[in-house]
């Protein structure tokens, strides 16, 4: 037997969660774009998409966030005001497993040398009701980085579509059980056929890691990254990329310190005040992104910094596919370059 949520009861779930005080967000279609946004009814949900354009990262690490306020009085005395807001309790309904899995991975860095109270206060306020993927596309690669289209990792409640279009329900941990108790209209039913996408394994992760260890200086990077235009598209749509910049903005006498998303692909990212840039060329910046995800982060914190959602692959304006690059590395192409394409004198 398993617990079943009839599809028609999704509406009741949204209503129940909202009346319990949660902001409910899920995939919402606005023209050509599907992003995670607030919903007031299950009818707002675009559950037919494989994946939203943006990730759930914005609910724990907003693209801009005030971390302090400061005033300067007429005498020039500066006072710093606390800016910690009480985050709104939020349920993400229709989260994807590759998004949910990103949060525990990022917890490691936000709790590493100090505890990031902004991250964790939002984290504490967010509940994830994940729907396992019934479909995938050619950019999905969760199974190549240890995930799965029906992985429960990071979720509080996991819904898996049945052949009849209803959802098999699984509560994970205490938080999940608490949340599921608020779901109306659950019933027991015999285990049914589940609709779960078959995401093929696209590369051998350990072979890619071995290749990274050997190829810091390989011409592979120059060849690969020549087309990279150095925007922040891949990192900003990524559920695990978490780098930020701190800026002071606003009028001189009462300003805000804001934490904004930043991207290692942009040349300013490592630009020193002296004018020196330790990553002077795009190939260095591109190499950093791959090395950080697949070598540095796992060797320091034990987890690969990628959940295989494929958003960076889909979003890259110059079709520089991380999936292709890591597959090339795993296949040993950094060692034996097939053509001289991309090799230029400097």
């Amino acid at each position: 037997m398993s617990r079943l949520l009839p599809r028609a009861n999704l509406e009741g779930v949204v209503a129940a969660l909202r009346s319990a005080g949660y902001r409910v967000v899920g995939p919402v279609r606005r023209g050509s774009l599907v992003t995670y946004d607030e919903i007031s009814s299950a009818a707002d949900l675009a559950l037919d998409v494989i994946i939203t354009r943006d990730s759930i990262k914005k609910f724990v690490l907003p693209r801009t966030e005030v971390v302090a306020r400061f005033n300067r009085d007429a005498a020039g005395k500066v006072s710093v005001l606390d800016a910690t807001a009480a985050p709104q309790p939020t349920v993400i309904l229709g989260c994807r497993p590759c998004d949910a899995a990103a949060l525990p991975i990022d917890d490691l860095v936000f709790a590493w040398d100090s505890t990031d109270r902004f991250w964790f206060s939002r984290r504490e306020a967010v509940r994830l009701v994940t729907i396992a993927c019934a479909n995938c596309d050619e950019s999905c690669f969760c199974t190549s980085v240890g995930g799965a289209p029906d992985s429960p990792e990071g979720s509080d409640v996991l819904l898996t579509e049945t052949a009849a279009g209803d959802y098999e329900v699984q509560a994970l941990g205490e938080r999940g059980a608490e949340l599921l108790a608020k779901f109306p209209g659950l019933r027991d039913a015999p285990a049914a056929d589940r609709r779960v996408a078959a995401v093929p394994q696209r590369f051998d992760l350990s072979a890619a890691v071995t290749a990274l260890e050997k190829n810091f200086e390989s011409p592979f990077w120059r060849q690969t990254a020549l087309r990279c235009v150095g925007c922040g598209c891949c990192t900003f749509v990524c559920p695990t990329c978490h780098c930020f910049d701190l800026v002071d903005e606003g009028p001189a006498y009462h300003s805000e310190r804001r934490r904004n998303w930043d991207a290692c692909q942009m040349k300013n990212f490592t630009l020193h005040a002296s004018g020196h840039n330790p990553r002077p060329w795009q190939e260095h910046r591109y190499r950093q992104r791959i090395m950080h995800k697949f070598l540095y982060y796992p060797s320091r914190l034990g987890r690969t910094l990628c959940t295989g959602c494929g958003r960076c692959v889909r979003a890259c304006p110059v079709n520089l596919s991380l999936l292709q690059v890591v597959s090339d590395l795993a296949a040993g192409r950094a060692n034996a370059l097939p053509t001289s394409a991309g090799e230029v004198k400097k």
Binding site: L226, C231, F236, M266, N268
Partner: protein
């Protein structure tokens, strides 16, 4: 062999020959993308690389963007697989002294404007490697099509709104902006070594992705491209959040055409309307 196949053979032959003969040391074109519906920029330095070149309706990126990259500048002479929008961007770069026209060759592709993505487009490739001066007369007739009303349908729609509704429209659209700067980074005319958005002493515009910061960025960019944007649409296609950036750029294009009778991308020797001072300017405030 079907017509497209013959054109593709010709394209590859031109590129291969250009590299073999030493006429250029780099050919920038397109290869098959990693997923259906995408094409990937390809940098050919060896004659054999030319065998990977393709062209179809997904080759919408503006390759002229790469001409100002230091890695590309290191080459004495570079050839671009250039549909009209790419050549127009080269005109802009020459006009603004960013690119030396004697160091650029075009493998000219004649095809309809690639505004939206569509795989099947009819295209032909011109005979031989062309200089910009050789190319320009072959595209001069397209000037008349730059200002057709169809191109400004979205602009007209925005213009028809009340100022209040226009504000709401752009507030809603700019709200999606995540400040990834893909628009800027794929734009061939956005070549500033240090963009105003990256300056913090003084800081001219908010870097934060707030309403204020997003309005500032998207409007400043449109203004900076006024009279310079060659209407290729690369920014709008690159935007991961589907901002209708060409509504702004085409509005600017329309105003510049009305006020100055100027369309960017046709004459590398023309004065740029917004950076040129004339003593007989009819506007009083400027004197």
């Amino acid at each position: 062999m079907p017509a497209e196949g013959r054109q593709l053979e010709k394209l590859r032959h031109l590129a291969r020959h250009a590299l073999e003969s030493g006429a250029v040391s780099l050919v920038i074109g397109f290869a098959e993308g990693t997923v259906p519906g995408r094409a990937a920029p390809l940098f050919c330095t060896a004659p054999a690389d030319a065998d990977r070149l393709i062209f179809d309706g997904y080759c919408t990126l503006n390759l002229a963007n790469y001409l100002t990259r230091p890695e590309v500048r290191a080459h004495q002479t570079v050839a671009l697989v250039a549909r009209h929008a790419v050549a127009k961007a080269v005109v802009g770069l020459v006009q603004e002294s960013q690119v030396d026209p004697t160091r650029v060759r075009l493998i000219a592709i004649h095809c309809p404007d690639l505004d939206g993505l569509q795989q099947d487009v009819a295209w032909t490739v011109a005979d031989g490697l062309q200089t910009l001066d050789e190319f320009l007369p072959t595209a001069a007739h397209l000037h008349d099509q730059e200002l057709t009303p169809e191109r400004f349908a979205a602009v007209a729609q925005v213009e028809s709104k009340s100022s209040h509704d226009r504000w709401d429209h752009f507030a809603r659209e700019f709200d999606k902006c995540i400040k990834c700067y893909a628009c800027r980074n794929v734009c061939p005319l956005c070549y500033c070594e240090r963009c105003i958005a990256d300056k913090n002493q003084p800081q001219w515009i908010d870097t934060s992705s707030t309403q204020r910061g997003n309005f500032a960025w998207n409007i400043v960019r449109a203004f900076h491209l006024a009279g310079r944007c060659i209407d290729c649409g690369a920014c709008e296609r690159a935007c991961p959040m589907d901002l209708p950036l060409m509504e702004l750029n085409r509005k600017m294009k329309k105003v510049v055409a009305e006020r100055f009778g100027y369309v960017a991308g046709y004459d590398p020797k023309a004065d740029l309307p917004l950076v040129t001072f004339k003593k007989d300017d009819p506007e009083e405030f400027i004197k």
